[in-house]
């Protein structure tokens, strides 16, 4: 397991780097799919089967499809996007380095629990167990999440659904229809 953990760990970091540094958004998205997939492997490695499955279904499946869809819909993947100004770039890098250093310092020297005392019995990741806790101890939270998702759907529909204004003038279905009409009028 340790070997797999290391291999997939390196792969995860590499693909995450791809997400951040890929010049084209679509490439970023594909790298992200990879990252999410590798993370699912990690979950599985840790015995969290339920989460691993969810990771693949929800993230790699649903959310990333949505993202890719939007990228394609808006035609954003036209070329490499410019990064921020140099100042932002450097200060961001410095901050991130500092941040990472701090975190690593904290995780290697300041952990308040004894490493390695974990109880890794098989029941922790058991989907049945997770499901039981979900609808007993966390029932309210579960219902609220349902409500949240519902609200999110309504919100998304309201936001995205604007019939009056085309998403992109000169493109999309209406534009195609319009140009077809133009062509028709020219022919006539």
């Amino acid at each position: 397991m340790i070997v797999a953990m290391w291999i997939f760990g390196v792969l995860t970091v590499l693909s995450a780097l791809g997400v951040v540094f890929a010049p084209r958004p679509l490439h970023s998205a594909l790298w992200l799919v990879g990252t999410l997939f590798f993370l699912a492997v990690h979950f599985a490695l840790m015995g969290a089967d339920f989460i691993a499955a969810l990771q693949v279904v929800v993230y790699a499946g649903a959310i990333m499809v949505l993202v890719v869809f939007v990228i394609m819909l808006l035609g954003l993947d036209e070329g490499p996007t410019q990064n921020q100004s140099r100042l932002t770039l450097y200060s961001g890098a410095i901050f991130c380095g500092l941040f990472l250093g701090l975190l690593l310092f904290a995780f290697t020297h300041q952990l308040s629990f004894p490493i390695g005392s974990g109880v890794s019995n098989g029941s922790v990741g058991d989907p049945r167990e997770v499901g039981r806790v979900l609808v007993t101890d966390f029932l309210y939270a579960f219902e609220v999440i349902a409500l949240l998702l519902f609200a999110a759907i309504i919100g998304a529909v309201l936001l995205a659904n604007d019939r009056k204004r085309p998403l992109m003038p000169g493109r999309g279905l209406k534009a195609v229809q319009g140009s077809a009409n133009d062509a028709a009028s020219v022919e006539a």
Partner: protein
Amino acid sequence: MEVTQFYLVLGAVLFTLGTLGVLIRRNTIVIFMCIELMLNSVNLTMVALSRQFGEVSGQVFVFFVMAVAAAEAAVGLAIIMTAFRNYHSVRTTDVHDLAG
């Protein structure tokens, strides 16, 4: 390196990478994806600690985070579309009506 510690460090690295992306990228969609990365790094940490303590609630929280992430994705992408409709761009440098 011990398993839990390894995953904590991995989570930290992923989170930092996500943050870096948020800070340096201009494309809103990429920023959005970086945020997903950050969320996932937290998920990773949580599952690792759940395993460490044999406590299933950590995984339940991951479940919630995913649900919220899904909701966020729906709304966030809708916002990106609306912004695009209004500004014909999704770059943060082009959308700055909050300037004081």
